[in-house]
Symmetry: none
Subunit: 197 residues, 4 copies
DNA sequence: AATGAATGAGGATTCATTCAT
DNA sequence: GATGAATGAATCCTCATTCAT
């Protein structure tokens, strides 16, 4: 019963407390990749392994499966917010950034559209509306009427619709379909690319 | 898909000769319900239990997880095909039936939009394009140009987009959003209801 | 993600449904031994291994840790009840059987006295009072006043006290201490042995 | 053991020179509380957290789980010894102090009665007999014959028996049962309270 | 001397799948 | 044909213990 008695061959490793921030970032990056490859329901152990840390570290930083996904999404949303807040930002420009994240991040899509009834992702969806609202707020400030959408409600519906169209094995294919979707909606979209200052 | 009789009645006792067919139907109905409640990744044991049969029966009828989901989808697609083939069918009418299935069947949505990278649903998606093509074919025959979509490719993209918009806890909410989505696309949709010969 | 894909080398085993009862009995017997050797908190996996079954079987028969312990205790209590119900039963005779179980079954003692605050055994203790009441009922019918105890409350307190005295590495030592405890209480106890018809 | 100041005050900031002694005391107090709430098997991390120190400090002061429990028990035993050594001490008075510790300290009870086979507490039990002997020695000097017990062996058996009776969710309930147990044994017990010089 | 992050083995639990009856 | 028990690998999660800072 003595828990974990094996204390013979201790491996070295332990880069001290400063590694914490680095590990957290590595976990989020690993999660993004794993999600893209295996979906939101992928084993957490795989994320830890890809990040090069023990499983305990993952649990130290994220109490549960939902927290990991939320951390990944948080980054996506933050980039959209930054793009919206940048000086000279336009609706089409922000939508370009948003579209880039839709085509790039399986978690982002998964979050919005993956089977909402999957019990394993319940916790994720619980936070989704809050994140969604932040995206809406970012877009709202740039609504100018140069398109067929009536308001930010229409705009968020349109975002959902575009994300529904984003399928395909490669990012290029997904981008092609995303742009076709925006075209059907009569909305102009700027360069599809991540936000960079 | 509540049109299909819910298989709650426990098998009486002995099995008649056509028990096999009855069991298959019960399994599909049970799977539809389970998928709606717990997602495509739900335990197969729960489907067998809900159908009132042993787990062995499930495996007799369906070799694997994908086969179960495909059987459920097959029914959805067949109804759309029947609606399209009915005399007097119009595009908006068929889209109404299609929309009904989108709002009703979590599996149908899940199939088209759930995280395609989820390994558990790989086998399902393998058949998805075939089913999707059958839906496209059904719609193609009714394309008449009275809308902004250029062809059946555009139409299938639109279907994907609408399915992306279909979210929400109740069927009513999902229908509301689906109709809003079609409106944004400028496509007229008939009564949202299952096909009934 | 596909769960448990390894379906290559299938091992034979599977004695059919009739093994169920045998397995349940084997699990209880194994649990009794394991509890005696390692305490109520011992790994369930060890119990399954000792019983010669897979871990899943344990969970099929017992939903959780508490259910296993309760099943073990249930047997102890049942023997006491049977001893009490036997024709010609006397209080000292029933106490002899009860004492035998106290000295023999680590789980029985553990249940009544092990660290009540141990979170792992919470569920066990939840049922303990019900079992304890059954023991009290069994003894009650034989209260005759030939001793210093006032009623079944006193008697149950005395049982608890004796169980507190039952310590030691061997059954013989535990029996010696149990008898000394009864003597201090001025209660006559019959032969310390399991009930046998 | 609430007589010991609960170590809730977080260390201010820097550590003075005698921080070590303060930390040790805080750890023991924290352990006592944790043991009372969660049993002897509670996570060590929780003890360190409650004491307001890092986990490393716990290991600096106590090499293993057993050392922590032994330190807690050491305090209980020491109080009994002090009560016995006080001028004017009587057997019933010392038993009152002993009884107070039995009703107050889950670790004390747990130590004496918790499932001795629980591998997690092996190390603790290894020291138990030594501590137990110290208690016996303390009582021995006050044996006067005014009761039914024959010697210190009987007395220690009686202590074990009383501890077996000490159950219940509140200290009051535990005290009530302890007193009833002593009464059944025909032993007079003084005021149930901690020793205070 | 203290901190608290990291490791990683251990134990709990769940299910896909098989198969004797 | 149907049943449902059994298997056991996979995954989740927890903690004892170490150690860089």
């Amino acid at each position: 019963m003595t828990q974990h008695p094996t204390a013979e061959e201790r491996r070295p490793a332990n880069d001290g407390p400063k590694a914490a921030a680095r590990n957290r970032a590595a976990l989020i990056a690993a999660a993004r990749e794993i999600y893209a490859e295996h979906g939101l329901g992928a084993p957490l152990s795989g994320i830890a392994r890809r990040a090069g840390v023990g499983q305990g570290v993952l649990y130290r930083h994220f109490p549960d499966r939902a927290a990991v996904a939320n951390a990944v999404l948080e980054e996506n949303v933050r980039e959209v917010e930054q793009a919206a807040a940048a000086s000279g930002a336009t609706l089409s420009g922000v939508l370009g950034v948003l579209t880039w994240h839709l085509t790039e991040s399986a978690a982002f899509i998964g979050l919005l559209h993956a089977d909402r009834t999957d019990d394993r992702t319940d916790g994720v969806h619980a936070h989704a509306s809050a994140l969604s609202e932040r995206v809406a707020r970012s877009l709202r400030g740039h609504l100018t009427g140069g398109h067929r959408l009536g308001g930010s409600d229409d705009l968020m519906l349109a975002v959902a619709m575009v994300s529904g169209a984003v399928t395909g094995p490669t990012r290029e294919e997904r981008e092609r379909r995303a742009l076709a979707a925006w075209r059907l909606l009569g909305v102009e979209v700027g360069a599809v690319r991540p936000f960079a200052g």
